[in-house]
């Protein structure tokens, strides 16, 4: 694609205020900005830390830290380590060269094991721009180029001016759209409209690049809102923003504790040590509480309750912190045929997803969400590529945290026009679902448990088993109550959940495989389970009326095989 180029500025100068950014670097190899030294240094420290994390307890045990921390040997070795890491950063910096030439990104990197990456623009599936916190004051960015293959196949241009990063992304994505346009000539009308509008935007390329440049300066000033209003003219429309209140609600309703707990794992022992010391200072000794019979049971219960509440409060606070850490300044925007999510407190991260790649929209409401009338909306794409879908930052999944129910409807209609997720005409599943699970999973443990209780004359066991069984029965019943499926002209909707509710919506033509399952007993009752395998995972609805399940399966297959549209 020969996009219009205005040959005025080199990337390294662009942050100094020139109006356009030249993406193509020509034949020359280019070095990164020196800030990359910081990146490489930190990366090698991080790598070592990850490698050495298992050695930490051993070192802590063998060396008496308080004694040796002041000794010259320790200081010397720390200094040596710092120097080693810094110099490895410098060497990595000098060994790294890249060029963008003739629609290819080429990268030479590595110190001992040299590697050469050559990525044609059309093979790049996704361009992410990351802003580590130490890049932000200087207006630099890290560009991650994703290819369709595995997670290891991504290429990173470690430090370039933000404006250059934006220009590069624009050009790569424009190339991609053009390429994709030729391939997907048979797209349906709705998509064609969207793509043509994208092309209108493309023609104003040179202007857009100037805006991208402005936007970088806005970012340098730290003025986020200005940045986004600027990028609006960049062909990017903001669909949703999340305020701090929203994110706090998200932190409360969703457990985001692990964002911190995962990172803090090596310090658990110490933390508990300090905690019990601190409690001991306050005259509260856990060992005494448990060990001695001096206090009444209700006192102990009260202590336990207070402790539990304190722990819950701490967990909720940590969770809010985690949510703020990942979702601070959240925006979801659309640029041409992609959705882009930007968020993050220290490291601003960006995930973008092509609209046509979205396989399933899922709107998830946990019980607390239901009380607060909030929904977590997920746009899910191909799960078999790279990272696991559980990761929040995973590029397979675009999350819009804790939107209101109306916003959820609006956003899902934006992604899947005319879809209606909340509806009352779901085909419910047969009550035999409850019977099936009671017989298959509940009956034997219940009979054995109560039997043991009665036989050994420990009626508390019997009572406990009965209680647990009753709770499980309740959950099974709720699951039966929630589960349902409905289809309209364009979409299939599935509702499911136990205490919370998930709504899923997908286009039938994106289905990869259809399975209809029936046990002998279900056949007798004319019931069947239907399963749709999508690239983002399988969705199944059990115990439907046989006729309904078959009709659904046949219609979906017909849709796939007659429309013949790409699922990507």
């Amino acid at each position: 694609m020969a996009s219009p180029e205005v040959d005025t500025a080199k990337p390294s100068e662009s942050s100094a205020g020139s109006q356009t950014v030249k993406v193509d670097t020509g034949e020359d190899w280019r070095r990164l900005s020196p800030i990359a030294i910081a990146y490489f240094t930190l990366r090698s420290i991080k790598n070592m830390a990850q490698g050495a994390i298992y050695a930490v307890p051993a070192i802590a045990v063998t060396a008496n830290i308080n004694d040796s921390i002041q000794s010259p040997i320790t200081l010397l070795s720390i200094a040596a380590l710092v120097i080693i890491f810094f110099s490895s950063g410098v060497v990595s910096f000098f060994m790294y060269r890249f060029r963008v030439n003739n629609q290819h990104v080429e990268i030479h990197s590595g110190v001992f094991s040299r590697s050469y990456t050559n990525l044609p623009f059309w093979r790049i599936q996704n361009v992410k721009i990351e802003l580590p916190f130490y890049y932000r004051p200087f207006g630099f960015a890290l560009v991650v180029l994703d290819t369709a293959g595995s997670a290891g196949e991504e290429a990173k241009i470690v430090a370039v001016p933000l404006a250059y990063a934006h220009a590069l992304r624009k050009q790569v994505l424009a190339e991609h759209q053009e390429h994709g346009h030729q391939e997907n000539g048979y797209q349906e009308n709705g998509h064609q409209e969207r793509e043509t509008s994208a092309h209108v935007n493309d023609s104003g390329h040179v202007n857009n690049r100037a805006h991208a440049n402005n936007s970088s300066q806005a970012c340098v000033d730290g003025d986020q809102s200005e940045r986004y209003s600027e990028t609006n003219e960049d062909g990017e429309t903001i669909l949703n923003r999340r305020s701090i209140t929203d994110i706090v609600i998200h932190g409360i309703t969703n457990n985001r504790v692990w964002i911190f707990l995962g990172a803090a794992a090596p310090f658990y022992d110490n933390a508990f040590g300090y905690l019990s010391e601190w409690l001991a200072e306050k005259g509260l000794q856990l060992n005494q509480l448990v060990g001695e019979q001096t206090i009444a049971w209700w006192q102990f219960g009260l202590y336990a309750f207070v402790m539990l509440m304190m722990a819950m409060a701490v967990v909720a606070l940590i969770s809010i912190g985690g949510a703020l850490f990942t979702f601070y300044d959240y925006t979801l925007s659309r640029q041409h045929d992609r959705y882009i999510r930007r968020s993050g407190l220290l490291n601003k991260q960006e995930v973008s997803m092509r609209a046509s790649r979205i396989q399933v929209i899922s709107a998830k409401q946990d019980w607390l969400d239901r009380i607060l009338k909030r929904v977590n909306l997920y746009f899910e794409q191909n799960a078999s590529i790279g990272h696991s879908t559980k990761e929040l930052m995973s590029p397979n999944r675009l999350i819009v945290p804790s939107v209101t129910e109306d916003e959820a409807d609006e956003l899902s209609q934006e992604v899947m026009p005319q879809s209606k997720i909340r509806r009352s005409d779901y085909q419910s599943i047969s009550k035999r679902f409850i019977l099936h699970w009671v017989i298959a999973a509940l009956a034997i443990p219940f009979v054995v448990g109560t039997g043991i209780g009665i036989y050994t004359e420990h009626l508390d066991i019997t009572a406990g088993v009965t209680l647990v069984s009753a709770i499980l029965l309740g959950i099974i019943t709720l699951r039966w109550w929630r589960w349902g499926v409905v289809s309209d002209d364009k979409y299939i909707y599935v509702r499911r959940g136990r205490i919370g509710i998930d709504y899923l919506c997908f286009e039938p033509y994106k289905v990869q495989q259809v399975v209809v399952k029936q046990s002998v007993f279900m056949k007798r009752r004319k019931l069947a389970t239907v399963q749709f395998v999508l690239a983002s995972g399988a969705i199944s609805v059990p115990f439907l009326p046989e006729e309904y399940a078959n009709k659904l399966a046949n219609n979906v297959l017909f849709e796939v095989e007659s429309k013949r549209k790409s699922w990507m």
Partner: protein, 192 residues
């Protein structure tokens, strides 16, 4: 859109209802339960049963050899457990044999113009259908015993992930190869 008739390799019995795009009324949509299902090779059952037999036999032989050898002493609890171990292995072997005896003939497949279907299962019967349009690649898998028997498994990989690989086990090599060729020649797969 015309559906090609570029599949002379298949008899009409193997090619089921042909989808045409012109008729879209509900009654004309091809029905899954009207498939002409075809059984896989009967040798597949023979292989499975003899495999179950020989594994059980080998396990019993090893256990007996350990029990009755005279080179070193076996701990007392193991000696008492010996008959139970033999019994357990026998029961498992019998269950596997009975299962394969009844379940394997129920594995059936059908090829239509646009998709491949597989029916299987004794108590829980599943009928899965893989549109050829969504096949990403095809593989013929042949273990040593299957090679001896002239059988192969046909695996179709879609974007649904490894757990949802569509596999037709125990079909004759020639059939498997023809099926593979049919899928490869299918214009949706070959067009990529």
């Amino acid at each position: 859109m015309t559906m090609g008739t570029d599949n002379e390799t298949f008899s009409n019995a193997q090619l089921n209802a042909i989808i045409t795009n012109e008729n879209t009324s509900a009654s004309d949509i091809p029905q899954l339960h009207q498939l002409n299902l075809e059984a896989i090779s009967p040798r597949y059952r023979v292989i499975n049963i003899s495999l179950a037999f020989s594994i059980a036999f080998a396990l019993i032989m090893v256990a007996s050899a350990l029990r009755y050898q005279s080179f070193f002493a076996i701990p007392e609890p193991l000696v008492t457990a010996f008959p139970y171990i033999v019994m357990g292995v026998c029961v498992l072997g019998c269950v596997a044999t009975i299962y394969h005896f009844f379940a394997d003939p129920l594995i059936k497949y059908a090829l239509r113009e646009q998709d491949l279907s597989l029916q299987s299962g004794l108590v829980f019967r599943s009928l899965s259908c893989q549109p050829i349009l969504r096949v990403q690649h095809v593989e013929l898998k042949r273990g040593p015993i299957a090679r001896l028997a002239g059988l192969a498994s046909l695996q179709l990989f879609s974007a649904g992930g490894a757990t949802h690989t569509f596999e037709i086990p125990g079909i004759e090599v020639e059939v498997a190869e023809r099926l593979r060729q049919f899928i490869l020649d299918h214009k949706d797969v070959s067009a990529k």
